[in-house]
């Protein structure tokens, strides 16, 4: 089947079976390898992308159901205001170890900040619980989200 997908602000055409998850369209057909495979079952969040602004697991989204939705991936996130702040915060405290899951972490964090400009710790934990970091960078992921949200690293609001 041929699909015209709105990805990172451009229309991309692919010819793939409708059941193929968006993840494998991105990685295998379009060369957008920033979105990662981790589990194929929606358990780890490594493949998180934005579909009309909402964080979704692209390994669970068949391309046939994408339709006209606007897809944003990690490759594009730096051109959004919140995404750029998150990238900067990630680098300020060098969140990552191996880095493999971080695209998914940033995508989930960005969707969170889209819903809540200054989330509480409980809201951060809840929004990020679906994203596994095997290296255990969670303390810094939390801090980076706070920094990007204009709060200090420990969670209180910067005056």
């Amino acid at each position: 089947m041929r699909y015209r997908l709105d990805i990172n602000g451009a229309i991309r055409e692919v010819d793939v079976p409708p059941e193929m998850p968006l993840l494998w369209v991105l990685r295998g057909e379009l060369g957008l390898v920033g979105t990662k495979y981790g589990c194929g079952a929606g358990l780890c969040g490594a493949c998180t992308v934005h579909v009309d602004g909402a964080a979704l697991r692209s390994c669970q989204l068949p391309v046939g159901r994408v339709g006209q939705a606007k897809i944003h991936t990690i490759e594009h996130i730096g051109s959004t205001e919140a995404g750029a702040r998150l990238q900067e915060a990630w680098l300020r405290i060098d969140v990552m170890q191996c880095g493999y899951c971080q695209a998914g972490q940033i995508m989930s964090a960005c969707a969170l900040l889209g819903q809540k400009a200054q989330p509480s710790d409980a809201e951060i934990n809840s929004a990020m619980a679906g994203n596994i970091c095997r290296c255990g960078c969670y303390n810094r992921i939390r801090s980076a989200i706070r920094i990007a949200a204009g709060m200090d690293e420990e969670g209180s609001h910067v005056a």
């Binding site: 793939v16 079976p17 193929m20 998850p21 993840l23 494998w24 990685r27 295998g28 057909e29 060369g31 957008l32 390898v33 920033g34 979105t35 990662k36 495979y37 981790g38 589990c39 194929g40 079952a41 358990l43 780890c44 490594a46 991936t73 990690i74 490759e75 996130i77 730096g78 998150l86 990238q87 990630w90 680098l91 060098d94 969140v95 990552m96 170890q97 191996c98 880095g99 493999y100 899951c101 971080q102 695209a103 940033i106 951060i124 934990n125 809840s126 990020m128 619980a129 994203n131 596994i132 970091c133 095997r134 290296c135 255990g136 960078c137 969670y138 303390n139 810094r140 992921i141 939390r142």
Partner: protein
């Protein structure tokens, strides 16, 4: 320990060769000799042509390029080793570019990520290399200005002559420096620690900018023109053999271009199991086609290899008594017989998987007898050796590129994926192939941290001193040799600290592949022994930190047991214990009910770590509130930014092993877990605050990938005991 480092740096004679960089500048070849054992007979370490792969090069515009020689798996070595070179070179970090070296051990020395060894091994050679390059640049400037080199100083990539006020950038003298005879590395002056400008400064990882932008730098991101994607179906049980395969309907699946049955070589260590490869234009299409395969497997070798059977075999082995003694000090039997108080307990832990986030994968192209590989491997040289053994491919016919790896944890010490992709690429010559395992494959085909059982006994004197300590360890092996990463550590405390001690062992056979997992030989032994010593401490009327301090006694060096090489310094152990007792306010007990602190200490991979966990228990729910860590990995923390991340990661990893229910179980050799639903990793909501304190004696720096992990598990189980009175003697933790 310092003697060992000196040998690595001086006696083995790291050699420098200088040449003119293409386009102008200095290219420095550094030959860091391999240990004799790593060279074939008659072979000598040799430099290839310089230039492109020079270890350190300084271009005429001042850009310093440093090769990162070791695999980067998230431990931060790609940043920290170049930092050491750049500091002694006295250049500005913004001038530095890091390039990942291909595998070439004759040129770069050992290229290996494992055992927290790189910082220990490379600290001095990296410093000498940077210092030598600096000395050559200074000499070139001295010649240019007709002054004595002793009158010149350097800072941030420039050479200054205070007397005349002149200064010049490194790049401007780099070409001239190529003609300066390289200095003797053993005597090249090194900085004093107070002169370091980069070492000890928290620096952002050199790949971090690319990671946050989603650039493709991992093994699975390798993209080549005409690349096809492969999956590799193997038997559903460990040790299974392929009998026959009907591949027709898989071959007709959408996107599938090739289906290739492959005969393994029967050697599980080599990792080329019997299987069927499916190759397609998209990985998902290849994976989808697996359900169309009709394969008959011979699973008879795995019959009876079930977790329940292993448990009953371990029970029988403990009841029968040890097959062999590994270490006997003094007369533990007599001391136990005369002890005022005896404590006995059994401990056990399960097999666990590594489960790095990037599944095992490898990319290869085979054409005209030449093999090119892109591998996220921790042991690329071992992979090269395996290619010769398994396929007869000569090392000179292989080009092996190291990609960043999405986590290692010891899994990528094995090169099974490299053998598999090579077998597929050889069957489809000229076509680049990327093999990737599904998560299910990755969980089910691991080289697991093996399970084990311990039967401990301790004798306590009337004075409350620990008089005797014995451990009967039941592990996996063929009766003569333990399985990979299933051995004991006869230096395990309290060995060397008390007079009467016995360590014994029995083995039960397994077909399951086992291997090293972060802090191998320590992660599980520390849980069992430090939890049991906590029982001993309570029985002796004290607590574990104070029992450990009493046993450690005066500051001294304890010689390693026969076959060992690492000296244990009781003073350094005391210092981290005393530090964490202080930082955690150990003597202050939490006021809330069923909330308490637990402590543990371990010495692993040359690092001294003492940790305290504060946890509370409500029903079946365990909450870890805070973890305090005191660590000693020598006088210099090369990159505190990465170092603190390693410690936090190790703590979180250990807590997940205990609390997330991690256990791999078998039924007739078939793994029962398959994904992150039934093999759980740590998640953010369970992550506690982690406070780190460094003890920094004047000792050479050592590695940090591993040693922070072991103590956190018994610190947690000891906290649970203190909170509830229930001993946790089996992992994963269950309090119900």
């Amino acid at each position: 320990m310092s003697h060992e480092l000196l040998r690595a740096g001086v006696d083995r004679r790291t050699v420098l060769k200088a040449s003119l960089l293409a386009g102008g500048g200095l290219a420095l070849e550094v030959l860091i000799p391999l240990p004799a054992s790593a060279l074939k007979a008659g072979e000598q370490a040799q430099a290839g042509p310089a230039q492109l792969s020079a270890f350190v090069s300084i271009a005429s515009d001042g850009t310093v390029t440093i090769m990162s020689k070791n695999p980067e798996i998230g431990q931060g070595i790609k940043t920290s080793l170049p930092m050491i070179v750049a500091d002694e070179l006295d250049c500005d970090w913004s001038q530095v570019r890091i390039a990942q070296a291909d595998l070439d051990q004759k040129r770069y020395g050992e290229q290996y990520a494992g055992g927290s060894t790189a910082t220990t091994r490379d600290w001095l050679p990296m410093r000498q290399t940077g210092a030598a390059a600096r000395a050559m640049l200074v000499q070139a400037a001295a010649s240019k200005w007709q002054v004595d080199a002793g009158q010149l100083s350097t800072a941030r990539g420039r050479i200054h002559h205070a007397a005349s006020g002149r200064s010049i950038g490194y790049g401007e003298v780099a070409s001239a420096a190529a003609a300066v005879p390289p200095p003797d590395l053993a005597s090249v002056p090194l900085k004093r620690p107070d002169q370091f400008t980069l070492i000890g400064r928290p620096l952002v990882g050199v790949d971090s900018h690319r990671i946050v932008r989603g650039e493709g730098i991992f093994g699975v991101d390798t993209r080549l023109p005409g690349l096809l994607y492969a999956v590799y179906e193997v038997a559903p049980a460990h040790g299974g053999r392929l009998v026959k395969a009907d591949i027709e309907s898989a071959r007709q699946s959408p996107g599938v271009s090739h289906v290739v049955p492959i005969a393994g070589n029967g050697d599980a260590d080599m990792g080329l199991a019997d299987g069927v490869a499916i190759v397609a234009s998209n990985w998902w299409l290849a994976n989808e086609a697996r359900s169309k395969l009709r394969v008959e497997w011979d699973l008879s070798a795995a019959k009876g290899h079930s977790s329940a059977v292993y448990r009953s075999e371990a029970d029988a082995a403990i009841a029968a008594g040890p097959d062999m003694h590994l270490r006997i000090d003094g007369d533990p039997a007599a001391q136990l017989a005369s002890a005022a108080r005896r404590v006995r307990a059994r401990y056990d832990y399960p097999f666990i998987a590594h489960a790095p986030m990037e599944p095992q994968n490898c990319t290869a192209r085979y054409a005209d007898g030449k093999l090119e590989i892109w591998a996220p491997s921790q042991t690329p040289q071992r992979g090269l050796d395996q290619l010769r053994k398994v396929f007869g491919i000569a090392p000179e016919d292989v080009t092996l590129h190291l990609t960043r790896a999405g986590g290692g944890f010891g899994r990528r010490l094995m090169n099974d994926y490299m053998m598999q992709v090579t077998a597929i690429a050889r069957a489809i010559p000229g076509v680049p192939i990327q093999l990737m395992w599904s998560r299910q494959d990755d969980i089910r085909r691991d080289y697991y941290r093996p399970g084990g059982w311990h039967s401990f006994e301790a004798g306590i004197g009337a004075d409350g001193e620990l008089r005797a300590f014995t451990d009967h360890f039941v592990t996996f092996g063929d009766g003569k040799t333990t399985a990979r990463a299933a051995g004991f550590n006869t230096a395990m405390p309290p060995a060397g600290l008390i007079e009467h001690l016995r360590y014994s062992q029995s083995m039960i056979p397994t077909v399951v592949t086992t291997g090293a997992l972060r802090a191998p030989g320590s992660n599980a032994l520390c849980f069992a022994s430090q939890s049991f010593l906590d029982e001993v401490a309570v029985a002796a009327g004290t607590d574990l930190p104070h029992l450990m301090l009493r046993m450690l006694g005066a500051r001294r060096e304890v010689a390693p047991p026969p076959g060992g090489s690492v000296v244990f310094d009781t003073g350094r152990a005391r210092d981290v214990i005393e530090r964490v007792v202080q930082t955690s306010a150990w003597s202050e007990k939490p006021a809330a009910p069923r909330r308490a602190k637990g402590f543990a200490f371990y010495f692993s991979h040359r690092g001294y770590f003492a940790e305290v966990v504060e946890a509370s228990v409500a029903g079946e729910k365990i909450v870890v509130h805070k973890v305090w860590v005191a660590g000693d990995i020598g006088g210099q923390i090369v990159n505190p930014m990465g170092a603190e991340n390693q410690v936090r990661g190790a703590v979180i990893d250990g807590l997940a092993q205990a609390l997330a229910g991690q256990a791999i179980e078998f039924v007739d050799g078939a793994v029962q877990q398959s994904n992150f639903n039934d093999f759980q990793l740590a998640r953010m909501p369970a992550t506690p605050e982690i406070e780190i304190a460094w003890v920094r004696p004047d000792k050479p720096p050592t590695g940090l990938g591993e040693p922070a992990l072991p103590p956190v598990i018994p610190a947690l189980t000891n906290a649970i005991y203190a909170a509830t009175g229930k001993r946790i003697r089996s992992l994963p933790v269950r309090v119900a």
